[in-house]
């Protein structure tokens, strides 16, 4: 059908050019919208705030932290919210969007590793 081979190559090249450009633009839009939604920023902010609270608390303190925002962001991103405190590695881990989540270290040596998450009240309780 296409007798003109130069024209055929031109169409193929243009299609590939458009597909590549669209791929780059889509990747950028996804990355910017993810960042713009505040998911990654909230993961980081919550991880750092929880770590600071643990470091600033005196022994015997019970911390009750409202993590509703993490639940809402996770729901918007169709994933299960994940907030975890590792006493072995002294880490707070928060995940509210697809990706690796965010981890942040606290410098306090916890005598007991006692934390619970109340899914109904969307509350994290840590006993220092």
């Amino acid at each position: 059908m296409l007798l003109n081979k130069k024209g055929e190559r031109l169409i193929t090249g243009t299609v590939i050019f458009v597909i590549l450009n669209l791929t780059v633009i889509i990747v950028l839009i996804v990355a910017v919208s993810r960042s713009g939604s505040g998911a990654s920023l909230s993961e980081e902010a919550y991880a750092k705030q929880i770590a600071l609270l643990i470091d600033a608390a005196k022994p015997g303190t019970t911390l009750n932290i409202d993590i509703t925002e993490i639940y809402l962001l996770a729901r918007d991103n169709n994933i299960n919210p994940n907030v975890f405190i590792s006493c072995e590695t002294n880490e707070v881990y928060v995940r509210a969007a697809p990706g690796q989540g965010y981890r942040f270290n606290f410098f306090t040596e916890l005598k007991q590793c006692d934390f619970t998450i109340d899914n109904a009240k969307r509350r994290l309780t840590i006993r220092i």
Binding site: G13, V24, L28, A56, F107
Partner: protein, 162 residues
């Protein structure tokens, strides 16, 4: 597929790829700068660390323990050894001075000493550690007035495990 080399260059030229890299790089750097500026808590960490040390070594206006080489500050203050000492992200420096003679009686430090020099150099350089200094006047067992100076520094940016 691209038999015509002219066409090949036209659609997948190094310039095109370079433009994509510049575009992506600019957006990634801009977003990174925006996010990191909002969540930099190094100065808060340094302040909390200093107060933790003060709370655990001073009681009723007296030092609790002599700051000798065998003194284990991290153990006494419930601070994680791996994070404070080995990560290179924290520094704690304690100086005890006799207020009457201005003589330094004891000095103690733990953590990355390089951060101490970063504190001295730091003005607006964001990559340098954030520092905090607290001075407390105390009395020892012989009722000497002593100045306890605690310098702490944090360069804990986060994102990766220490």
């Amino acid at each position: 597929m691209f038999l015509n080399k002219k066409g090949d260059e036209k659609y997948l030229s190094p310039w095109n790829i370079l433009i994509w890299i510049i575009l992506i790089g600019t957006i990634v750097i801009a977003l990174g700068m925006f996010n990191s500026a909002k969540t930099d808590i190094r100065s808060e960490e340094a302040r909390i660390l200093a107060h933790r040390v003060i709370d655990c070594i001073i009681q009723d206006g007296k030092t609790l323990a002599p700051l000798t080489e065998n003194f284990d500050l991290l153990e006494k203050c419930n601070l994680n050894k791996k994070i404070i000492e080995e990560s290179g992200a924290f520094y704690i420096g304690i100086t005890l001075t006799d207020l009457n003679t201005n003589e330094i009686i004891e000095q103690y430090s733990v953590g990355d000493k390089d951060l101490k020099f970063q504190c001295a150099l730091k003005k607006d350089e964001e990559q340098f550690a954030s520092c905090y200094t607290e001075k407390v006047v105390i009395t020892d067992s012989t009722d000497r007035n002593l100045l306890l100076e605690i310098k702490t520094a944090s360069n804990h940016v986060g994102g990766d495990s220490l």
